[in-house]
């Protein structure tokens, strides 16, 4: 079913909307949740929460790109669950590794006074990612948005794992420089 038709079903408050969403995007949402949450049941619940959040958001919201809209909800809910799970020492998965990698992007002299507003950070990240060369951009998004394992990304692009790792290392260094360049830290 076309995305526009599924969104219409949400506007009509038809429960078929969730069934059709699950049929078309269930696997996609589950794969995002599963990368973040190690526990399969947690991932399944995150996907169910995604459908509920989607049901509550549409209407009034009318997403422009439905798959991206769903993916973002799944990712946000899964990261929230990850944070809650970590408090209970149930965390793990790719998100732990990704966080360790991203920690290297934070300028070492960063302090509370240099905190960025969320919107400002979002703008910076969008500008930064958009400006990356195509392959680096895709690899970066697959690793830190989809939380895909390095091995999977390497296979997808026909690269060695070490090549993906070094590519990510260079991009992270550039991101760190970009954060510093914002004048928040010199």
């Amino acid at each position: 079913m076309e995305d526009s038709r599924i969104i219409e079903l949400y506007f009509q408050r038809s429960e078929d909307a969730i069934r059709e969403t699950e049929a078309k995007y269930g696997s996609y949402c589950f794969s995002i949740a599963r990368n973040i949450l190690t526990d399969k049941e947690d991932a399944r619940e995150a996907v169910n929460d995604t459908y509920m959040a989607c049901w509550n958001a549409i209407p009034p919201h009318k997403p422009n790109i439905f798959s991206a809209f769903l993916g973002k909800i799944t990712r946000r809910i899964s990261i929230n669950r990850y944070q809650a799970g970590r408090a209970l020492k149930r965390g793990g998965g790719e998100v732990t590794l990704a966080l360790e990698e991203l920690a290297g992007c934070i300028p070492s002299h960063w302090d509370v006074e240099q905190e960025m507003a969320a919107a400002e950070l979002t703008n910076l990240l969008n500008r930064f990612v958009r400006a990356l060369p195509e392959t680096e951009r895709r690899v970066f998004v697959l690793r830190y948005w989809y939380l895909d394992p390095v091995e999977k990304i390497a296979k997808r692009f026909g690269f060695s794992q070490s090549k993906v790792k070094s590519m990510l290392f260079r991009v992270r260094n550039r991101l760190r420089a970009e954060l510093e360049k914002e004048g928040i830290f010199v």
Binding site: A23, G26, S27, F30, R34, K40, A43, R44, P60, K62, N64, I65, S67, A68, F69, G71, K72, R75, R76, I79, Q83, V95, A98, L99, E100, E101, L102, A103, C105, I106, W110, Q114, E115, M116, A118, L121, T122, L125, N126, V129, R130, E134, T135, R137, R138, V141, L142, Y144, W145, Y146, K152, K155, R156, F157, G158, F159, L175
Partner: protein
Amino acid sequence: MKAEDLLIGLNELEDELVLDARDSSHGRSSHRRIFAAILAAAIAVSLIGCAYAVLSEADWFKDFFSTRAEQELSPGQEAYIEERTQEFIQSVTVNGYTMTVESAIADKYDAYIKIKFEAPSGVVLDAESYLDEIRVDEKGAPITPFARADGSDFSYSGSLAPIEDGNLTDNVYRMMYHLHLNPDWDFSFNDGSVWTLDFHNMFAYYDDPDKEEQLVAEGHWHFDLVFEHISNSEVQFLAEPLPYTVTIYEDAEPTYQDVTITSVKLRTMTGELTFGDLEESYRAAGFAMLTIVMKDGSSVEMGMHSGGSYEIKYSLKAPIILEEVDYILLPDGTKLPMPRG
């Protein structure tokens, strides 16, 4: 700031960037160079000969595009498909499983390749059995499924999807490989190049997360393809930049952003639109789907295939004859008439 803030901040990444990564595959592969010599030898004895416009294959594509566009095709569209459908008589059998590239239709940057996968008699391959789909092994394949035989780098995206073929034989399964070349590179399907398909191991994937993927057939199926009978037609709809206002609605309140459209190109199966800097939300809302209105009053939609900061690339729902186009309809009602001559 913590690493977690970065991870959360990335959640609001522009939709197009998120989609682009998800749809991306195999921009380049150094492994191809290793195989180049082998491929060159293989090509010498391989089947590059093709027969064209076999009516049954053309009829099949007519049904396919009619279903995709959700409308009857015009006589001109049907004639175009009959003329451009290319039959490839190429089959490879490995471990009793035969893969056949049956036919294709393409313009410079989009190609649809119809593939038959046949198991030994008695093996059930139908969708009812596999629930979801059969795909190429993405984990173990030593090279990308689609490549140039000369090993040169290029960028493309591809999707392999099961198709309804009306075949009631359990051991036959058909797939459509939709390939979209990035026009920013110097290659197109009509440049006479040899392109390669390499499918390694076929897996069944399931919707049910509890069910693991299942190896259906182990092997390597290799094909060399040369696309011919491809339309070179391309029309630029703008003689000069066009000021445009994109409107989006947030909480039912309209908001606007002005932008300049600098180019609108249309081909028989693809299109491109370029513009000045535009925020992502406006980009998607403003230009994700355009309508091509034909002289007979019918219309064909073209949907965004991929996009960047200043351009959007489209795939048409069905092929068109450019001479039959009346105008392109933009979302605000602006009509871009087909240029004269």
